[in-house]
Symmetry: none
Subunit: 229 residues, 4 copies
DNA sequence: GATGAATGAGGGTTCATTCAT
DNA sequence: TATGAATGAACCCTCATTCAT
């Protein structure tokens, strides 16, 4: 689609308002800064779409620009190059998530209840949003971007695993959990989330997978107290 | 690594046998066929290395050729194009594996014992071989190759899951396993293997992960009979 | 020849006018459009040279680019691919010519006089210009480009032949022409023009051929009234 | 078509007969020479087909070999390279024709009758045979092969034109022809043949052209004595 | 800042030619 | 002689990046 209306819009409306702003000497920086942030976001959103659809190497900045309704050159005003765009995309989307997850780990509630909450949060805030795509991008492209993998490990993985360990420790102490092997292998806890993200991108069209149910089944097994139901 | 030994191997061993072949007048096809198969394999091996290192899109056939000690044009004698090379690489490596796995599922032994055996086989036959890289390639590139994803689903995933379901069913009937949710979500069983493969490519240099131990811990939890040890 | 003057021309003349354009705030499109048209033309001209010299298949876009003083990639901003460049080259050069020829056919003058005029026009407007090369390209490459041959037949050949038929009809009615076979075989009339174009490309260096005289001799024979001079 | 039967034939039958020949010491050269000539001819025939269909540059020796039922390398046993194959193809086909044409010019019959005969011969021996394709190849590719154009000019064009001049001279002396301009422009006489060959390759599918009728109409005009019929 | 035309290095693919068998 | 696998130079086309406007 050539989107002809956009083109006009971009050409006329900004010009008019920027003139007004400058004339009023009200400090054009405010409006500009806002617009700049919007553009940056639009480019990042478009980049996520394209990188997800084609992978980093095969994605074309031309398509990113078109999707973001900016000119190709504009991308270079906000990002040094294609790789920087990619890496900042990952960072921008992940940074906020982690905080939330870590925070949640401090809640002082029974682990089963906590698990239920985590499932909900994960589904709503990750799996049903673009963050799922960001995570998948890290998984599929990370090996080619050592810095990115390191950032992701430091900022996300290690912190999440630490939080999990703390939770597991507490749950064991409280008698809510018997499997102390989870302290050594906390990766086992989020494993189904990983499986769901990969499955979703590869096999959902052949056999859909219900993330929520998958994770719940997993936690039921983990937190099973051994009593006959 | 350019594997310098390959070249020598290909040059010497066939020479010896080709004399014999010619003497026997069994036609030149025998030697040629052998050489052709060797070349095909060399190209596939080189391609796996390059695709694994750079991803499909960024890998260069030039490098594949160099690594396989053949000219660039030679690749096209064996494969229609880059994509065909990629897809045949996946198929060639996976087809034999599946059979073995399915076979194993028929063994009539306690499921714990079976799990131990599966861990060993997986580690030795997959994780410590190039097959691990093939699986990772499917996971990281599969979304861009619908046909490949379908092939992989039909030939590997669905069969493996069916075998798992049968095993789980038997184990439940025998009282070796309590979690019947695994019948609905058999993906939970191989989840740690997937985690290990992805982790290995992304985070091993920050924090190595012992696949064997990870999988054993997982199975310990799954097959836990609830009795206090 | 690389036509060094072009580069200068494109670089200087627009610069002068672009200042004016900007001052007038008539948008950057004017200058750009001009430059774009110039580039397109430069590419077409270069392509004609290369295609004429080597034939379509053997011509290299690299050489076309060099000759047009543009980068290789620039060609693809104006033409979809090599074949599109070739076909548009033919169309661009031929379309205007036909109109003129058809127009001329309506002139209400004795056919001999008309023939003299046609000879002059053909020599000046076709034979002594690049259009001769375009026609030769159609003749030498047309068989490999069915669409092009069809276009040429519909737009040029059939129209020219129709105009010739009308002229012949009129001439016969006026008693200026006796050979009514020309109504069935109007191709006989422009035959010497074709011969001249082919001869010129193949044998002129061995034996030059005077187109003008050839065509005149031909028309003298055709319009000969049979009276003894 | 893979033509599987041929392959076997080529492998077995020659082996048997060549052994016999060598055993009998009957001079293997005879059989070999014959077979060699056959192969050469097969290659030339295949080459004509391919060059005609695709043009010199775009034709592939692979296709020529396949069409001739020989291996690609075999072509190089008979021809130095692609260009030599092309040039020898032209020479081989044209040499015999010329002689016939020149010979015919000595016949001492009225020019009208002679023209009728030439039309027939041209149609039967050239237009309805592969020679038409050879001539078209000279016309379409000759400009890129100066040596070929020269050969063709020397061996065919100049001789044919000389013969035509002689005929015209005689016809004028006998009063069978009035247009002495034909002595200066003998090219006018075979012009319709050229038109027919080019038309045939380009426009026949839109509007078929009857060569015979075209040439007859042409000669009727040329030899018209001016008397009212 | 924003644009998008222009650049040109790079990579997939083809194919004439060679040469071991 | 004949074969056809192998070679690698060459060429079309793409696309990240630059820069004049």
């Amino acid at each position: 689609m050539p989107r002809p209306s956009n083109r006009t819009a971009r050409r006329t409306s900004p010009k008019a308002s920027s003139d007004a702003a400058r004339a009023a000497q009200r400090g054009p920086s405010r409006v500009r800064a806002t617009r700049a942030a919007e553009r940056r976001d639009a480019i990042l959103a478009a980049a996520l779409d394209e990188f997800s659809a084609r992978g980093f190497a095969a994605a074309r900045l031309d398509d990113v620009a078109r999707r973001a309704n900016v000119a190709k050159g504009t991308i270079y005003l906000y990002f040094a190059d294609k790789e920087a765009l990619f890496q900042e995309l990952i960072r921008a989307e992940l940074s906020p998530v982690v905080g939330v997850l870590i925070q949640a780990a401090h809640a002082d509630i029974p682990i089963r209840q906590f698990a239920d909450r985590v499932v909900e949060v994960f589904v709503r805030e990750v799996f049903e949003t673009r963050r799922k795509d960001v995570i998948r991008l890290v998984l599929t492209e990370g090996a080619r971007f050592p810095k990115l993998a390191e950032f992701y490990y430091q900022e996300v993985i290690s912190r999440v695993l630490a939080a999990i360990r703390a939770l597991v420790q507490r749950a064991i102490e409280r008698g809510e959990l018997r499997h102390d092997a989870l302290l050594k292998y906390p990766q086992l806890i989020p494993a189904p989330a990983l499986v769901a993200i990969m499955w979703n991108g590869l096999f959902d069209r052949f056999e859909p997978l219900d993330v929520r149910a998958l994770m719940r089944a997993h936690f039921n097994i983990l937190f099973d107290d051994g009593s006959t139901t």
